[in-house]
Protein backbone atom coordinates (compact mmCIF):
# COMPACT_ATOMS: atom_id res chain seq x y z
CA UNK A 1 0.00 0.00 0.00
CA UNK A 2 1.27 3.42 -0.84
CA UNK A 3 0.02 6.51 0.86
CA UNK A 4 0.17 9.75 -1.03
CA UNK A 5 -0.53 12.98 0.76
CA UNK A 6 -3.60 14.77 -0.45
CA UNK A 7 -1.80 18.07 0.04
CA UNK A 8 0.72 17.34 -2.69
CA UNK A 9 -0.05 17.92 -6.33
CA UNK A 10 -0.74 14.72 -8.27
CA UNK A 11 2.28 13.41 -10.19
CA UNK A 12 0.19 12.25 -13.14
CA UNK A 13 -2.79 14.31 -14.20
CA UNK A 14 -5.71 13.68 -16.54
CA UNK A 15 -7.13 10.69 -14.64
CA UNK A 16 -4.83 8.27 -16.48
CA UNK A 17 -5.25 4.52 -15.99
CA UNK A 18 -2.46 1.96 -16.08
CA UNK A 19 -3.44 1.01 -19.61
CA UNK A 20 -3.30 4.66 -20.69
CA UNK A 21 0.33 4.79 -19.59
CA UNK A 22 1.29 1.85 -21.82
CA UNK A 23 -0.66 3.34 -24.67
CA UNK A 24 0.49 6.96 -24.44
CA UNK A 25 4.17 6.11 -24.22
CA UNK A 26 4.34 3.12 -26.57
CA UNK A 27 2.38 4.86 -29.32
CA UNK A 28 5.33 7.24 -29.79
CA UNK A 29 7.53 4.27 -30.63
CA UNK A 30 4.91 2.54 -32.79
CA UNK A 31 3.82 5.47 -34.93
CA UNK A 32 6.04 6.69 -37.75
CA UNK A 33 7.94 9.80 -36.67
CA UNK A 34 6.43 13.21 -37.24
CA UNK A 35 7.63 15.65 -39.87
CA UNK A 36 9.14 17.77 -37.13
CA UNK A 37 11.26 14.81 -36.07
CA UNK A 38 12.64 14.37 -39.60
CA UNK A 39 13.42 18.07 -39.81
CA UNK A 40 15.18 18.05 -36.44
CA UNK A 41 17.07 14.90 -37.43
CA UNK A 42 18.18 16.42 -40.74
CA UNK A 43 19.44 19.51 -38.95
CA UNK A 44 21.30 17.45 -36.32
CA UNK A 45 22.89 15.27 -38.99
CA UNK A 46 23.96 18.33 -40.97
CA UNK A 47 25.59 19.83 -37.88
CA UNK A 48 27.15 16.46 -37.07
CA UNK A 49 28.50 16.17 -40.61
CA UNK A 50 30.09 19.61 -40.54
CA UNK A 51 31.49 18.92 -37.09
CA UNK A 52 32.91 15.60 -38.23
CA UNK A 53 34.69 17.39 -41.07
CA UNK A 54 36.29 19.74 -38.52
CA UNK A 55 37.29 16.83 -36.28
CA UNK A 56 38.87 14.94 -39.18
CA UNK A 57 40.77 18.08 -40.25
CA UNK A 58 42.09 18.49 -36.70
CA UNK A 59 43.14 14.85 -36.49
CA UNK A 60 44.76 14.99 -39.93
CA UNK A 61 46.64 18.24 -39.46
CA UNK A 62 47.15 18.25 -35.70
CA UNK A 63 45.69 20.34 -32.92
CA UNK A 64 47.53 23.39 -34.20
CA UNK A 65 44.25 23.89 -36.06
CA UNK A 66 42.80 25.01 -32.75
CA UNK A 67 43.37 28.45 -31.30
CA UNK A 68 45.54 27.17 -28.44
CA UNK A 69 48.94 28.76 -27.93
CA UNK A 70 51.95 28.30 -25.66
CA UNK A 71 50.36 30.19 -22.78
CA UNK A 72 46.76 29.08 -23.13
CA UNK A 73 47.13 25.31 -23.50
CA UNK A 74 43.61 24.48 -22.43
CA UNK A 75 40.69 26.51 -23.72
CA UNK A 76 37.60 25.57 -25.71
CA UNK A 77 38.29 21.86 -25.67
CA UNK A 78 38.49 21.52 -21.90
CA UNK A 79 35.75 24.12 -21.38
CA UNK A 80 33.45 22.03 -23.55
CA UNK A 81 34.59 18.84 -21.85
CA UNK A 82 33.77 20.11 -18.37
CA UNK A 83 30.53 21.66 -19.64
CA UNK A 84 29.28 18.38 -21.10
CA UNK A 85 30.37 16.32 -18.10
CA UNK A 86 28.50 18.77 -15.88
CA UNK A 87 25.37 18.39 -17.96
CA UNK A 88 25.76 14.66 -17.61
CA UNK A 89 25.19 14.94 -13.87
CA UNK A 90 21.45 15.41 -13.70
CA UNK A 91 20.37 12.05 -15.07
CA UNK A 92 22.02 9.80 -12.56
CA UNK A 93 21.32 12.28 -9.78
CA UNK A 94 17.62 12.09 -10.60
CA UNK A 95 17.54 8.32 -10.90
CA UNK A 96 19.90 7.45 -8.04
CA UNK A 97 19.84 10.14 -5.36
CA UNK A 98 16.14 10.90 -5.76
CA UNK A 99 15.42 7.16 -5.63
CA UNK A 100 17.22 6.87 -2.31
CA UNK A 101 15.28 9.89 -1.03
CA UNK A 102 12.05 8.31 -2.30
CA UNK A 103 11.17 11.31 -4.44
CA UNK A 104 8.47 9.84 -6.63
CA UNK A 105 8.39 12.80 -8.97
CA UNK A 106 11.60 11.51 -10.51
CA UNK A 107 9.65 8.69 -12.18
CA UNK A 108 8.37 10.47 -15.25
CA UNK A 109 11.59 12.35 -15.94
CA UNK A 110 14.35 9.88 -15.11
CA UNK A 111 14.41 8.01 -18.42
CA UNK A 112 15.00 11.06 -20.61
CA UNK A 113 17.38 12.59 -18.07
CA UNK A 114 19.49 9.44 -17.96
CA UNK A 115 19.58 9.26 -21.75
CA UNK A 116 20.76 12.85 -21.75
CA UNK A 117 23.46 11.94 -19.21
CA UNK A 118 24.80 9.13 -21.34
CA UNK A 119 24.92 11.20 -24.53
CA UNK A 120 26.44 14.17 -22.70
CA UNK A 121 29.22 11.99 -21.28
CA UNK A 122 29.99 10.64 -24.77
CA UNK A 123 30.19 14.23 -26.06
CA UNK A 124 32.45 15.18 -23.16
CA UNK A 125 34.80 12.27 -23.78
CA UNK A 126 35.46 13.35 -27.38
CA UNK A 127 37.32 16.49 -26.27
CA UNK A 128 40.18 15.02 -24.22
CA UNK A 129 40.45 12.19 -26.76
CA UNK A 130 40.87 14.57 -29.69
CA UNK A 131 43.09 16.83 -27.62
CA UNK A 132 45.53 13.90 -27.46
CA UNK A 133 46.07 14.62 -31.14
CA UNK A 134 46.86 11.01 -31.88
CA UNK A 135 43.57 9.41 -30.97
CA UNK A 136 44.71 5.92 -31.89
CA UNK A 137 47.37 5.99 -29.18
CA UNK A 138 44.85 7.11 -26.58
CA UNK A 139 44.43 3.62 -25.19
CA UNK A 140 48.09 3.39 -24.22
CA UNK A 141 48.20 6.87 -22.80
CA UNK A 142 45.02 6.60 -20.78
CA UNK A 143 44.73 2.97 -19.71
CA UNK A 144 47.16 0.71 -17.83
CA UNK A 145 47.85 -1.60 -20.78
CA UNK A 146 51.11 -3.46 -21.38
CA UNK A 147 53.12 -1.60 -24.00
CA UNK A 148 56.39 -1.68 -25.89
CA UNK A 149 58.07 0.77 -23.51
CA UNK A 150 58.76 -1.88 -21.06
CA UNK A 151 55.87 -1.72 -19.79
CA UNK A 152 55.78 1.89 -18.72
CA UNK A 153 52.55 2.25 -16.79
CA UNK A 154 50.21 5.19 -16.54
CA UNK A 155 50.66 7.54 -13.58
CA UNK A 156 48.09 6.67 -10.94
CA UNK A 157 49.06 9.79 -8.99
CA UNK A 158 47.61 12.05 -11.66
CA UNK A 159 44.07 13.45 -11.43
CA UNK A 160 43.91 13.30 -15.23
CA UNK A 161 44.15 9.54 -14.95
CA UNK A 162 41.59 9.46 -12.13
CA UNK A 163 39.34 11.28 -14.55
CA UNK A 164 39.70 8.52 -17.13
CA UNK A 165 38.55 5.98 -14.56
CA UNK A 166 35.85 8.22 -13.07
CA UNK A 167 34.26 9.10 -16.38
CA UNK A 168 34.43 5.65 -17.91
CA UNK A 169 32.98 4.11 -14.73
CA UNK A 170 30.30 6.78 -14.58
CA UNK A 171 29.41 6.18 -18.21
CA UNK A 172 29.27 2.39 -17.83
CA UNK A 173 27.27 2.37 -14.62
CA UNK A 174 24.84 5.03 -15.88
CA UNK A 175 24.36 3.06 -19.07
CA UNK A 176 23.67 -0.14 -17.14
CA UNK A 177 21.29 1.65 -14.77
CA UNK A 178 19.42 3.20 -17.69
CA UNK A 179 19.23 -0.09 -19.54
CA UNK A 180 17.97 -2.01 -16.52
CA UNK A 181 15.15 0.52 -16.33
CA UNK A 182 14.38 0.08 -20.01
CA UNK A 183 14.05 -3.71 -19.93
CA UNK A 184 10.43 -3.99 -18.63
CA UNK A 185 9.35 -1.18 -20.95
CA UNK A 186 10.81 -2.91 -23.99
CA UNK A 187 8.67 -5.90 -23.00
CA UNK A 188 5.57 -3.68 -23.06
CA UNK A 189 6.31 -2.67 -26.64
CA UNK A 190 7.07 -6.30 -27.53
CA UNK A 191 3.72 -7.53 -26.23
CA UNK A 192 1.83 -4.76 -27.96
CA UNK A 193 3.64 -5.68 -31.18
CA UNK A 194 2.55 -9.32 -30.74
CA UNK A 195 -1.07 -8.18 -30.39
CA UNK A 196 -0.71 -5.91 -33.42
CA UNK A 197 0.86 -8.73 -35.44
CA UNK A 198 4.18 -6.91 -36.00
CA UNK A 199 6.53 -9.88 -35.88
CA UNK A 200 9.80 -8.08 -36.62
CA UNK A 201 9.20 -5.38 -34.03
CA UNK A 202 8.23 -8.02 -31.48
CA UNK A 203 11.47 -9.94 -32.10
CA UNK A 204 13.66 -6.85 -31.87
CA UNK A 205 12.07 -5.56 -28.70
CA UNK A 206 12.09 -9.04 -27.17
CA UNK A 207 15.83 -9.19 -27.74
CA UNK A 208 16.19 -5.70 -26.26
CA UNK A 209 14.13 -6.78 -23.23
CA UNK A 210 16.25 -9.93 -22.75
CA UNK A 211 13.07 -12.04 -22.81
CA UNK A 212 11.56 -10.20 -19.86
CA UNK A 213 8.54 -11.91 -18.30
CA UNK A 214 7.89 -9.83 -15.19
CA UNK A 215 7.37 -12.55 -12.61
CA UNK A 216 7.18 -11.56 -8.94
CA UNK A 217 10.54 -13.18 -8.23
CA UNK A 218 12.22 -11.32 -11.08
CA UNK A 219 10.67 -8.05 -9.96
CA UNK A 220 11.91 -8.67 -6.44
CA UNK A 221 15.47 -9.14 -7.70
CA UNK A 222 15.04 -6.25 -10.09
CA UNK A 223 14.12 -3.93 -7.23
CA UNK A 224 17.13 -5.11 -5.23
CA UNK A 225 19.36 -4.40 -8.24
CA UNK A 226 17.85 -0.93 -8.74
CA UNK A 227 18.36 -0.04 -5.09
CA UNK A 228 21.99 -1.20 -4.98
CA UNK A 229 22.75 0.51 -8.29
CA UNK A 230 21.28 3.70 -6.84
CA UNK A 231 23.44 3.27 -3.73
CA UNK A 232 26.55 2.73 -5.86
CA UNK A 233 25.73 5.57 -8.24
CA UNK A 234 25.15 8.17 -5.55
CA UNK A 235 28.80 8.49 -4.44
CA UNK A 236 29.77 7.91 -8.08
CA UNK A 237 27.89 11.01 -9.30
CA UNK A 238 29.52 13.09 -6.61
CA UNK A 239 32.96 11.61 -7.34
CA UNK A 240 32.95 12.40 -11.05
CA UNK A 241 32.85 16.16 -10.88
CA UNK A 242 34.98 16.11 -7.73
CA UNK A 243 37.70 14.41 -9.75
CA UNK A 244 37.14 16.73 -12.72
CA UNK A 245 37.66 19.66 -10.35
CA UNK A 246 40.89 18.05 -9.11
CA UNK A 247 42.29 18.31 -12.65
CA UNK A 248 42.46 21.98 -11.77
CA UNK A 249 42.63 22.09 -7.99
CA UNK A 250 45.75 19.90 -7.65
CA UNK A 251 47.73 22.17 -9.99
CA UNK A 252 49.63 25.26 -8.84
CA UNK A 253 47.96 27.72 -11.22
CA UNK A 254 46.50 30.73 -9.35
CA UNK A 255 42.74 30.60 -9.77
CA UNK A 256 42.76 26.80 -9.98
CA UNK A 257 44.60 25.91 -6.81
CA UNK A 258 41.62 26.11 -4.45
CA UNK A 259 40.14 23.59 -2.04
CA UNK A 260 36.59 24.83 -2.65
CA UNK A 261 36.58 23.32 -6.14
CA UNK A 262 35.09 19.85 -5.52
CA UNK A 263 31.79 20.90 -3.86
CA UNK A 264 31.58 23.98 -6.07
CA UNK A 265 32.00 21.91 -9.23
CA UNK A 266 29.47 19.31 -8.10
CA UNK A 267 26.85 21.98 -7.33
CA UNK A 268 27.54 23.64 -10.67
CA UNK A 269 27.23 20.31 -12.46
CA UNK A 270 23.83 19.59 -10.93
CA UNK A 271 22.80 23.16 -11.71
CA UNK A 272 23.69 22.88 -15.39
CA UNK A 273 22.42 19.30 -15.63
CA UNK A 274 18.97 20.28 -14.44
CA UNK A 275 18.95 23.25 -16.79
CA UNK A 276 19.66 20.95 -19.74
CA UNK A 277 17.04 18.44 -18.55
CA UNK A 278 14.49 21.25 -18.52
CA UNK A 279 15.48 22.50 -21.97
CA UNK A 280 15.10 19.02 -23.43
CA UNK A 281 12.03 17.93 -21.50
CA UNK A 282 10.03 21.06 -22.25
CA UNK A 283 10.46 20.29 -25.95
CA UNK A 284 9.92 16.52 -25.59
CA UNK A 285 6.80 17.09 -23.49
CA UNK A 286 5.31 19.38 -26.11
CA UNK A 287 6.21 17.27 -29.15
CA UNK A 288 5.10 13.96 -27.61
CA UNK A 289 2.08 15.42 -25.80
CA UNK A 290 3.28 14.28 -22.38
CA UNK A 291 1.71 17.16 -20.45
CA UNK A 292 -0.11 14.74 -18.14
CA UNK A 293 3.11 12.96 -17.19
CA UNK A 294 5.57 15.82 -17.01
CA UNK A 295 3.43 18.35 -15.23
CA UNK A 296 4.02 21.93 -14.14
CA UNK A 297 4.65 20.44 -10.69
CA UNK A 298 7.64 18.49 -12.01
CA UNK A 299 8.98 21.58 -13.71
CA UNK A 300 8.53 23.63 -10.56
CA UNK A 301 10.44 21.08 -8.48
CA UNK A 302 13.32 21.07 -10.95
CA UNK A 303 13.36 24.86 -10.89
CA UNK A 304 13.65 24.72 -7.12
CA UNK A 305 16.74 22.51 -7.47
CA UNK A 306 18.08 25.12 -9.89
CA UNK A 307 17.63 27.90 -7.31
CA UNK A 308 19.34 25.84 -4.61
CA UNK A 309 22.33 24.77 -6.70
CA UNK A 310 22.54 28.16 -8.44
CA UNK A 311 22.76 29.85 -5.06
CA UNK A 312 25.47 27.43 -3.91
CA UNK A 313 27.40 28.31 -7.06
CA UNK A 314 26.88 32.02 -6.32
CA UNK A 315 28.21 31.62 -2.79
CA UNK A 316 31.20 29.72 -4.20
CA UNK A 317 32.05 32.56 -6.62
CA UNK A 318 31.95 35.11 -3.83
CA UNK A 319 33.96 32.87 -1.49
CA UNK A 320 36.65 32.51 -4.16
CA UNK A 321 36.87 36.28 -4.52
CA UNK A 322 37.05 36.79 -0.78
CA UNK A 323 39.71 34.13 -0.25
CA UNK A 324 41.86 35.47 -3.08
CA UNK A 325 42.05 38.77 -1.18
CA UNK A 326 42.13 37.28 2.33
CA UNK A 327 44.90 34.79 1.49
CA UNK A 328 47.27 37.67 0.89
CA UNK A 329 48.87 35.77 -2.00
CA UNK A 330 49.49 38.36 -4.69
CA UNK A 331 49.34 35.88 -7.59
CA UNK A 332 46.01 34.54 -6.34
CA UNK A 333 44.72 38.06 -5.80
CA UNK A 334 45.79 39.13 -9.28
CA UNK A 335 44.18 36.08 -10.92
CA UNK A 336 40.81 37.13 -9.53
CA UNK A 337 41.35 40.85 -10.07
CA UNK A 338 42.10 39.98 -13.67
CA UNK A 339 38.90 37.93 -13.95
CA UNK A 340 36.74 40.77 -12.69
CA UNK A 341 38.59 43.69 -14.28
CA UNK A 342 40.82 42.25 -17.00
CA UNK A 343 40.30 41.72 -20.72
CA UNK A 344 37.99 38.78 -20.07
CA UNK A 345 35.77 40.71 -17.65
CA UNK A 346 32.90 40.42 -20.15
CA UNK A 347 33.04 36.63 -19.77
CA UNK A 348 33.17 36.90 -15.98
CA UNK A 349 30.17 39.21 -15.82
CA UNK A 350 28.22 37.09 -18.33
CA UNK A 351 28.84 34.17 -16.02
CA UNK A 352 27.74 36.14 -12.95
CA UNK A 353 24.56 37.39 -14.63
CA UNK A 354 23.56 34.05 -16.13
CA UNK A 355 24.42 31.84 -13.15
CA UNK A 356 23.92 33.91 -10.05
CA UNK A 357 21.34 36.58 -10.85
CA UNK A 358 19.04 34.98 -13.42
CA UNK A 359 18.10 31.81 -11.47
CA UNK A 360 17.04 34.00 -8.53
CA UNK A 361 14.01 34.90 -10.64
CA UNK A 362 12.72 31.41 -9.81
CA UNK A 363 11.87 32.65 -6.32
CA UNK A 364 8.72 33.98 -7.93
CA UNK A 365 6.18 31.21 -8.23
CA UNK A 366 4.76 32.74 -11.41
CA UNK A 367 8.16 32.49 -13.10
CA UNK A 368 9.06 29.00 -11.94
CA UNK A 369 5.68 27.64 -13.09
CA UNK A 370 5.87 29.39 -16.46
CA UNK A 371 6.98 27.19 -19.32
CA UNK A 372 8.34 30.02 -21.45
CA UNK A 373 10.29 31.58 -18.57
CA UNK A 374 11.68 28.18 -17.55
CA UNK A 375 12.77 27.42 -21.09
CA UNK A 376 14.50 30.76 -21.56
CA UNK A 377 16.17 30.66 -18.14
CA UNK A 378 17.31 27.06 -18.62
CA UNK A 379 19.17 28.11 -21.76
CA UNK A 380 20.62 31.15 -19.99
CA UNK A 381 21.90 28.89 -17.21
CA UNK A 382 23.56 26.63 -19.76
CA UNK A 383 25.26 29.59 -21.38
CA UNK A 384 26.32 30.83 -17.96
CA UNK A 385 27.80 27.48 -17.03
CA UNK A 386 29.78 27.41 -20.26
CA UNK A 387 31.20 30.81 -19.38
CA UNK A 388 32.03 29.59 -15.89
CA UNK A 389 34.34 26.93 -17.27
CA UNK A 390 35.76 29.33 -19.86
CA UNK A 391 36.48 31.90 -17.14
CA UNK A 392 38.12 29.36 -14.84
CA UNK A 393 40.29 27.88 -17.59
CA UNK A 394 41.22 30.75 -19.89
CA UNK A 395 41.47 33.70 -17.49
CA UNK A 396 43.66 31.67 -15.13
CA UNK A 397 46.05 30.76 -17.95
CA UNK A 398 46.29 33.78 -20.21
CA UNK A 399 48.17 35.91 -17.66
CA UNK A 400 51.22 33.74 -17.13
CA UNK A 401 53.84 34.27 -14.38
CA UNK A 402 56.07 35.85 -17.04
CA UNK A 403 54.40 38.98 -18.46
CA UNK A 404 56.20 38.55 -21.80
CA UNK A 405 54.10 35.45 -22.44
CA UNK A 406 50.80 37.16 -21.65
CA UNK A 407 48.36 36.61 -24.45
CA UNK A 408 44.71 36.18 -25.40
CA UNK A 409 42.88 33.14 -26.67
CA UNK A 410 41.08 33.32 -30.01
CA UNK A 411 39.04 30.29 -31.04
CA UNK A 412 39.38 29.17 -34.67
CA UNK A 413 36.62 27.77 -36.86
CA UNK A 414 37.85 24.31 -35.85
CA UNK A 415 37.36 24.99 -32.14
CA UNK A 416 33.81 26.02 -32.90
CA UNK A 417 33.37 23.19 -35.38
CA UNK A 418 34.25 20.60 -32.81
CA UNK A 419 31.82 22.10 -30.34
CA UNK A 420 29.18 21.86 -33.08
CA UNK A 421 30.22 18.24 -33.65
CA UNK A 422 29.22 17.37 -30.09
CA UNK A 423 25.93 19.23 -30.48
CA UNK A 424 25.18 17.23 -33.62
CA UNK A 425 26.14 14.02 -31.85
CA UNK A 426 24.06 14.84 -28.80
CA UNK A 427 20.88 15.79 -30.64
CA UNK A 428 21.14 12.94 -33.16
CA UNK A 429 21.44 10.48 -30.29
CA UNK A 430 18.64 12.11 -28.32
CA UNK A 431 16.29 12.12 -31.32
CA UNK A 432 17.01 8.45 -32.00
CA UNK A 433 16.33 7.70 -28.35
CA UNK A 434 13.08 9.66 -28.38
CA UNK A 435 11.87 7.79 -31.43
CA UNK A 436 12.84 4.20 -30.67
CA UNK A 437 12.86 4.03 -26.89
CA UNK A 438 9.99 4.71 -24.49
CA UNK A 439 10.74 8.24 -23.23
CA UNK A 440 9.04 7.73 -19.88
CA UNK A 441 9.63 4.88 -17.47
CA UNK A 442 6.28 3.15 -17.85
CA UNK A 443 6.76 0.52 -15.14
CA UNK A 444 7.59 3.10 -12.50
CA UNK A 445 4.82 5.50 -13.47
CA UNK A 446 2.33 2.61 -13.46
CA UNK A 447 3.29 1.74 -9.90
CA UNK A 448 2.10 5.15 -8.64
CA UNK A 449 -0.93 5.54 -10.93
CA UNK A 450 -3.51 3.89 -8.72
CA UNK A 451 -2.85 6.05 -5.72
CA UNK A 452 -2.13 9.12 -7.70
CA UNK A 453 -3.93 9.62 -10.93
CA UNK A 454 -6.97 7.36 -10.60
CA UNK A 455 -7.94 8.44 -7.11
CA UNK A 456 -7.33 12.09 -7.84
CA UNK A 457 -9.31 11.67 -11.04
CA UNK A 458 -12.18 10.08 -9.12
CA UNK A 459 -12.08 12.80 -6.46
CA UNK A 460 -12.21 15.48 -9.15
CA UNK A 461 -15.23 13.78 -10.73
CA UNK A 462 -16.97 13.68 -7.37
CA UNK A 463 -16.27 17.36 -6.82
CA UNK A 464 -17.81 18.15 -10.17
CA UNK A 465 -20.92 16.12 -9.33
CA UNK A 466 -21.33 17.95 -6.06
CA UNK A 467 -20.90 21.36 -7.66
Amino acid sequence: MQVVSGVRDPLVTGGKTVHDVSHDISIQVENPPAKLWYMAMALSLAVLGYGLYCVVMVLWNGIGMWGLNKTVGWAWDITNFVWWVGIGHAGTLISAILLLFRQKWRMSINRAAEAMTIFAVICAATFPLIHMGRLWLGFYWALPLPNTFGSLWVNFNSPLLWDVFAISTYFTVSLVFWYIGLIPDFAVIRDRAVVQGKQLRATIYNALSFGWEGGAKTWMRYEAVALILAGLSTPLVLSVHTIVSMDFATSIIPGWHTTIFPPYFVAGAIFSGFAMVLTLLLVTRKVFKLEDYITIYHIELMNIIIIVTGSIVGVAYITELFISWYSGVEYEGYAFYNRVQGPYAWAYWSMMTCNVISPQLFWFRKIRTSLVATFVLSIIVNIGMWFERFVIIVTSLHRDYVPSSWTMFHPTAYDIGEYLFTFGLFFTAFLLFAKFFPVINMAEVKSIIRHNSEKVGAAKKEEKQHA
Binding site: L152, E213, A216, W219, A224, V225, M442
Partner: protein, 176 residues
Amino acid sequence: MDANKNFVVGIFDNEDILLEGVEKIRGNGVKIHEVYSPFPVHGLDEVLGYKRSRLPIAAFLFGMTGTSLALLMQIWMLGYDWPMIIGGKNYASLPPFIPVTFELTVLLGALGMVATFMIVSDMKPYKWPRQFDLRSTDDKHVMAIDLALNAGKSKEDIKRILKEAGASEANDKNFD
Protein backbone atom coordinates in the same frame (compact mmCIF):
# COMPACT_ATOMS: atom_id res chain seq x y z
CA MET B 1 8.76 -26.84 -12.71
CA ASP B 2 8.64 -25.82 -16.35
CA ALA B 3 7.97 -29.38 -17.38
CA ASN B 4 4.36 -28.79 -16.52
CA LYS B 5 2.07 -27.65 -19.23
CA ASN B 6 -1.43 -27.08 -17.95
CA PHE B 7 -2.20 -23.94 -16.03
CA VAL B 8 -5.11 -21.94 -14.73
CA VAL B 9 -4.49 -18.24 -15.15
CA GLY B 10 -6.15 -15.71 -12.88
CA ILE B 11 -6.34 -12.06 -13.90
CA PHE B 12 -6.31 -9.38 -11.21
CA ASP B 13 -7.20 -5.79 -12.00
CA ASN B 14 -5.07 -3.99 -9.45
CA GLU B 15 -2.38 -4.52 -6.87
CA ASP B 16 -4.57 -4.17 -3.76
CA ILE B 17 -6.98 -6.91 -4.89
CA LEU B 18 -3.96 -9.00 -5.89
CA LEU B 19 -2.23 -8.78 -2.51
CA GLU B 20 -5.38 -9.83 -0.64
CA GLY B 21 -6.12 -12.45 -3.27
CA VAL B 22 -2.72 -14.10 -2.98
CA GLU B 23 -3.18 -14.54 0.76
CA LYS B 24 -6.65 -16.06 0.32
CA ILE B 25 -5.50 -18.41 -2.43
CA ARG B 26 -2.49 -19.61 -0.49
CA GLY B 27 -4.74 -19.94 2.57
CA ASN B 28 -6.90 -22.31 0.56
CA GLY B 29 -3.88 -24.53 0.01
CA VAL B 30 -3.41 -23.68 -3.67
CA LYS B 31 0.22 -23.53 -4.81
CA ILE B 32 0.91 -20.50 -6.99
CA HIS B 33 3.40 -20.97 -9.86
CA GLU B 34 4.15 -17.25 -10.26
CA VAL B 35 2.48 -13.84 -10.50
CA TYR B 36 3.36 -11.65 -13.49
CA SER B 37 2.91 -7.90 -13.07
CA PRO B 38 3.45 -4.83 -15.24
CA PHE B 39 5.27 -3.12 -12.36
CA PRO B 40 6.82 -4.16 -9.05
CA VAL B 41 4.15 -4.67 -6.39
CA HIS B 42 5.43 -3.95 -2.91
CA GLY B 43 4.78 -6.74 -0.46
CA LEU B 44 3.99 -9.31 -3.15
CA ASP B 45 7.20 -11.23 -2.51
CA GLU B 46 6.27 -11.48 1.17
CA VAL B 47 2.73 -12.79 0.65
CA LEU B 48 4.07 -15.25 -1.92
CA GLY B 49 6.57 -16.43 0.69
CA TYR B 50 9.72 -15.61 -1.30
CA LYS B 51 13.00 -15.29 0.54
CA ARG B 52 14.86 -12.01 0.26
CA SER B 53 17.16 -11.74 -2.72
CA ARG B 54 20.83 -12.36 -2.01
CA LEU B 55 21.92 -10.06 -4.84
CA PRO B 56 23.17 -7.40 -2.35
CA ILE B 57 25.69 -9.98 -1.08
CA ALA B 58 26.82 -10.65 -4.64
CA ALA B 59 27.20 -6.90 -5.20
CA PHE B 60 29.32 -6.59 -2.05
CA LEU B 61 31.60 -9.47 -3.05
CA PHE B 62 32.05 -8.11 -6.57
CA GLY B 63 32.73 -4.67 -5.14
CA MET B 64 35.39 -6.05 -2.79
CA THR B 65 36.95 -7.88 -5.75
CA GLY B 66 37.15 -4.51 -7.51
CA THR B 67 38.78 -2.89 -4.48
CA SER B 68 41.39 -5.61 -4.16
CA LEU B 69 42.21 -5.79 -7.86
CA ALA B 70 42.52 -2.01 -8.13
CA LEU B 71 44.88 -1.80 -5.15
CA LEU B 72 46.95 -4.77 -6.28
CA MET B 73 47.23 -3.37 -9.80
CA GLN B 74 48.34 0.09 -8.70
CA ILE B 75 50.73 -1.10 -5.99
CA TRP B 76 52.30 -3.65 -8.32
CA MET B 77 52.61 -1.34 -11.34
CA LEU B 78 53.97 1.75 -9.61
CA GLY B 79 55.54 0.09 -6.58
CA TYR B 80 57.26 -2.98 -8.02
CA ASP B 81 57.12 -3.31 -11.80
CA TRP B 82 58.37 0.18 -12.67
CA PRO B 83 59.04 2.18 -9.49
CA MET B 84 59.20 5.92 -9.98
CA ILE B 85 59.43 8.82 -7.59
CA ILE B 86 56.48 11.10 -8.27
CA GLY B 87 56.18 14.30 -6.24
CA GLY B 88 58.71 13.03 -3.71
CA LYS B 89 56.29 10.42 -2.41
CA ASN B 90 56.82 6.72 -1.76
CA TYR B 91 56.74 4.45 -4.78
CA ALA B 92 53.43 2.99 -3.71
CA SER B 93 51.70 5.65 -1.64
CA LEU B 94 48.12 4.90 -0.78
CA PRO B 95 46.22 8.25 -0.88
CA PRO B 96 46.54 8.91 -4.64
CA PHE B 97 45.38 5.36 -5.32
CA ILE B 98 42.03 5.88 -3.59
CA PRO B 99 40.08 7.47 -6.49
CA VAL B 100 40.85 4.69 -8.96
CA THR B 101 40.20 2.09 -6.24
CA PHE B 102 36.81 3.64 -5.54
CA GLU B 103 35.86 3.76 -9.20
CA LEU B 104 36.84 0.14 -9.82
CA THR B 105 34.93 -0.94 -6.70
CA VAL B 106 31.78 0.67 -8.06
CA LEU B 107 32.38 -0.61 -11.58
CA LEU B 108 32.90 -4.24 -10.64
CA GLY B 109 30.16 -4.14 -8.01
CA ALA B 110 27.60 -2.80 -10.47
CA LEU B 111 28.56 -4.94 -13.46
CA GLY B 112 28.96 -8.10 -11.40
CA MET B 113 25.62 -7.67 -9.69
CA VAL B 114 23.75 -6.96 -12.91
CA ALA B 115 25.37 -9.95 -14.62
CA THR B 116 24.39 -12.15 -11.67
CA PHE B 117 20.84 -10.81 -11.85
CA MET B 118 20.60 -11.62 -15.54
CA ILE B 119 21.98 -15.12 -15.05
CA VAL B 120 19.78 -16.09 -12.08
CA SER B 121 16.70 -14.62 -13.76
CA ASP B 122 17.55 -16.48 -16.99
CA MET B 123 17.42 -13.35 -19.13
CA LYS B 124 18.74 -13.78 -22.65
CA PRO B 125 18.11 -11.73 -25.79
CA TYR B 126 17.22 -14.81 -27.83
CA LYS B 127 14.76 -16.26 -25.35
CA TRP B 128 11.01 -15.93 -25.75
CA PRO B 129 9.46 -16.02 -22.31
CA ARG B 130 6.47 -18.16 -21.48
CA GLN B 131 3.59 -15.76 -21.57
CA PHE B 132 0.46 -16.66 -19.70
CA ASP B 133 -1.38 -13.52 -20.72
CA LEU B 134 -0.03 -10.66 -22.82
CA ARG B 135 -1.79 -8.14 -20.59
CA SER B 136 0.74 -8.86 -17.83
CA THR B 137 3.02 -6.17 -19.28
CA ASP B 138 0.16 -3.75 -19.80
CA ASP B 139 -2.24 -3.32 -16.90
CA LYS B 140 -3.18 -6.71 -15.41
CA HIS B 141 -1.60 -8.87 -12.75
CA VAL B 142 -1.51 -12.43 -14.03
CA MET B 143 -1.40 -15.36 -11.62
CA ALA B 144 -0.36 -18.71 -13.02
CA ILE B 145 -1.38 -21.86 -11.13
CA ASP B 146 0.15 -25.14 -12.21
CA LEU B 147 -2.47 -27.89 -12.27
CA ALA B 148 0.13 -30.64 -11.89
CA LEU B 149 1.33 -29.13 -8.62
CA ASN B 150 -2.21 -28.85 -7.28
CA ALA B 151 -3.25 -32.41 -8.00
CA GLY B 152 -5.57 -32.52 -5.00
CA LYS B 153 -7.86 -29.90 -6.51
CA SER B 154 -9.92 -29.93 -9.65
CA LYS B 155 -9.62 -27.20 -12.27
CA GLU B 156 -13.10 -25.96 -11.36
CA ASP B 157 -12.17 -25.69 -7.68
CA ILE B 158 -9.14 -23.60 -8.48
CA LYS B 159 -11.13 -21.33 -10.75
CA ARG B 160 -13.76 -20.89 -8.03
CA ILE B 161 -11.07 -20.05 -5.44
CA LEU B 162 -9.54 -17.54 -7.87
CA LYS B 163 -12.87 -15.83 -8.46
CA GLU B 164 -13.61 -15.73 -4.74
CA ALA B 165 -10.18 -14.20 -4.13
CA GLY B 166 -11.02 -11.30 -6.42
CA ALA B 167 -9.76 -12.38 -9.85
CA SER B 168 -11.73 -10.77 -12.65
CA GLU B 169 -11.07 -13.71 -14.98
CA ALA B 170 -9.91 -17.31 -14.59
CA ASN B 171 -8.70 -18.84 -17.86
CA ASP B 172 -7.07 -22.04 -19.04
CA LYS B 173 -3.60 -21.92 -20.52
CA ASN B 174 -1.88 -24.93 -22.03
CA PHE B 175 1.66 -25.01 -23.39
CA ASP B 176 2.46 -27.70 -25.91
